[in-house]
Amino acid sequence: MAEMIFAGFGGQGVMSMGMMVAYAGMIEEKNVSWIPSYGPEMRGGTANCAVVVTAEEIGSPIITEPDVVVAMNLPSMNKFEPMLKPGGLLIYNSSLIEREGGRDDITVIGVPANQLATELGNSRVANMIVMGALLAKTKVVGTESIKKALRQVLPSHRHDLLGINEEAIQRGAEYAK
């Protein structure tokens, strides 16, 4: 059972990350749910989605105590770090977040996602760098399933970007190891 929250600014690709993990879980014949935060959000605030991947029946799709939090910006980290279950995993984007995690009962890993993405030649794959780190650290879904899911989430006229996205996943995984 894995309950995950993906959060960041609008445009950082956090909804797509969550959707890919849900797709990958479905490909692996697990039960999955994905739900976006929706509501009267302020501009410049955080966008987030909650994803559950489990072999069991899913109770609430809404998560109050996540096992994993992926924070792509500071407001997201401030909001969701305190909610993590003891023993949980926090992955944060250290290119944009200067502070380190504030809890000693969780695993924390900072990934310079924007920097690594820019080195690969496309700053927009920062989310896939973090995805790679997530796959390396949790095994919630397999890398092969994520690659299949990528083909579902990326619209077909963007499939020329499959290569760079896969490269980013690999780079993120290497960094996190």
Binding site: M19, A22, Y38, P40, S60, I62
Partner: protein, 353 residues
Amino acid sequence: MAKQLMKGNEAIGEAAIQAGCRYFFGYPITPQNEVPEYMSRRLPEVGGVFLQAESEVAAINMVYGAAGAGDRVMTSSSSPGISLKQEGISYIAGSELPCLIINIIRGGPGLGGIQPAQSDYFQATKGGGHGDYHLFVFAPASVQEMVDLIMESFDIADYYRNPVMILGDGTLGQMMEPVEFKAPKKRDLPPKDWATTGCAGRERNVINSLSLVAENLEKHNHKLQEKYRHMKENEQRWELYKTDDAELVLVAYGTTARIVKSVVNKLRDQGIKAGLLRPITIFPFPEKAFALLPDTVKAFLAVEMSAGQMVEDVRLAVDGKCPVHFCGRTGGIIPAPAEIIKVATEIMGGERK
């Protein structure tokens, strides 16, 4: 067809189309906007009509017209929009026309908020508009169940010549889950010989809810009541979960029932013999399910995202045999497992009478 990951609101649209719905009339409102968005794209592909009306009142009257012509038609909205549609819904029920109405509930009253709620239970199950009538109401708890029930709803609507409502909430509309579209078991449906399809070579058909002679109108009411009795007799649906030895039965529907199912497991881990009764039809309310519960049951706890609406039907079904308690949140707040567990523990510890 393989499973697809779909948002609840989009799955509603696809299920309706696969069930033969070819007409959609609606007016936008959060949190169900993906339904009209999906229909506007998909209906023209299958030779259907999508029309965004100038208001909810116009939309429901277009549904009235298309249903009168014998076609499969639907509308969808959220709480304030459904309130605006009540006059038309009453006319449709009075004229005995089949159609599907989706209500993805948001918190009220008034314009309220846009977060999920279940505070339209009374409106959905007790009539809603004026006059003695009922909708047939399903309350699905997952995207897959919503799809299955919608595909069946058009048959049920045709069979009873009655509007069917799907009562969901923002969570169900916004979330993505894997779904599979499976054709439901077909009902034996009578021909729509009442529809206004052009009267060349036959007597005129009239679709109308006006009846000025009191005796005739009473006769019509008797006919409607007979139909609702028939639904109560034949169509009640529910799910029982871990009730075989239960001492506390939690009653919840829709999204709330999923949370309560996790709560039942947590209570059992604490040594409290809890079970769940989940109504799937909320009109007809599954009162038959209560008769199936064991003698071990000492109390009931209704959990809702409202100030306490379904709990009244639970009390009617329990009929004073046990105490019936209530736990609910309003305004768009989803009850957290911890607060339900606290209430359940207090009931079983004798702290709540």
